[in-house]
């Protein structure tokens, strides 16, 4: 039965590529549209999909698009292996399979009325971009929006035009830093934690959402705590090799958690000790 098949989370649904945009030398943003009207494009910021490249394999990719746009799903993908390479080499009109969206996203609704601190490193900005869109779309419902973004070098920064545009919104502070800058770079140089000194956070009314390499998140959590933000107000997005995406297979198990089902977004206190472990 068609309806039952569409509800099956293990069954990829047909989508077609709308466009592929090069963001950096190795990172691309892929926009896809459903091949039939039944397929969903609704998602919560922070959720992910399983993208199936026919003949190659299936990949978990965070949704990086605007949740207000209902005719597409958008993903930002770093080309690092065979499957991601195949994914970013798709052309407009090419087909692919999509399962999801899956997982627990950012607590955007619970954070209404509060200041939002977004801290991202590298491609970690991608899963946070839908949250930023949502906050900006509902600007009056939130307090200040502070975006701290760190990248390896200027040419590795994602969404540079959007970052500049976001900074022009009221009550919005955007600070970008790179680990290594050339003489042509006029922005900050240093790790993302060095940006906190240029912010004026109000810890009691702030919620922090963090995504990036785990070592970066560990240091960011330490800095947020130094700033007075409690672990219950810090959320982290984790990445693991998701396979089934619904908590059956155990591939993404992280301590007592399944990243695919219990996350990828977690309250910091659920992960703090795990982040300090050498291997898990």
């Amino acid at each position: 039965m068609a309806t039952a098949a569409i509800c099956d989370p293990m069954l990829p649904q047909p989508y077609a590529v709308r466009e592929v945009v090069k963001e950096t030398p190795d990172t691309f943003t892929l926009s896809v549209k459903p091949e039939n009207a039944v397929n969903k494009t609704a998602f919560q910021p922070g959720q992910f999909s399983m993208l199936w490249v026919f003949g190659i394999g299936e990949l978990p990719i965070s949704i990086s698009g605007n949740p207000e746009l209902h005719d597409r799903l958008v993903y930002t993908v770093r080309s690092v292996g065979q499957a991601t390479h195949a994914l970013v080499n798709l052309r407009a009109g090419d087909g692919l399979g999509v399962r999801g969206p899956f997982g627990v996203g950012w607590p955007a609704e619970a954070a209404r009325g509060r200041d939002i601190i977004v801290v991202a490193g590298g491609i970690g900005l991608a899963p946070l971009r839908p949250l930023i869109y949502q906050v900006l779309h509902n600007r009056k419902d939130y307090g200040r929006l502070v975006i701290l973004y760190g990248g390896r070098s200027p040419r590795d920064l994602l969404y540079r035009k959007e970052l500049a545009a976001w900074a022009r919104n009221r009550e919005t502070q955007v600070l970008v830093t790179v680990d290594y800058g050339g003489l042509g770079w006029r922005g900050h140089v240093g790790v993302v934690t060095t940006l906190f000194k240029y912010t004026r956070l109000q810890p009691a009314r702030s919620v922090a959402m963090v995504c990036g390499p785990e070592i970066m998140m560990r240091f960011v959590v330490g800095e947020l705590e130094t700033q007075g933000i409690s672990q219950s107000d810090i959320y982290l997005s984790m990445e693991r090799n998701m396979k089934c995406a619904v908590g059956f297979c155990g591939h993404c198990q992280y301590g007592p958690h399944f990243i695919c089902k219990d996350g990828p977004v977690f309250q910091c206190q659920a992960l703090r000790k795990l982040l300090e472990k050498y291997e898990i």
Binding site: G122, H188, V189, G190, V191, T193, G212
Partner: protein, 153 residues
Amino acid sequence: METLKGIIAEHPFFAGLDDSFTNLLVSCASNVRFKAGTYILKEGDAANTFYLIREGKVAVEVLAPQRKPIIVSTLGVGEILGWSWLMQPFQWKFHAHAVDDIRAIALDGKCLRTKCDQDHDLGYEILKRFARIMEQRLEATRLQLLDVYGAGR
């Protein structure tokens, strides 16, 4: 009108410093400005000053033979530039240039070293503050060295 004493007392680096110590610092301090693009200090030159940045951004850069200069950190409002004046052989280890027009307070390192030698309580206060800055920058540099964005996510 802002006085040198007021500016020094309000700078985050000297926050909470005893008033008598601030008075000692004022006698070693002066207002300075640098145009964007000019070098504030150069590797190998005598290090006899440090700066409290009041406005603008400074880039600290490393020169390596046959490579373009690499900016390894930037310093902004509320931060300090330079600690080589504090330790032998009193020579700068890096270049630093003004990214924007800079307003700063320059503190004469020779003057300050003399005062620290004469008043060890002042010297201890200054050293504690520099040690904190060094610790923060060392930690940031270690994280930078990990090149966390280079692989994986």
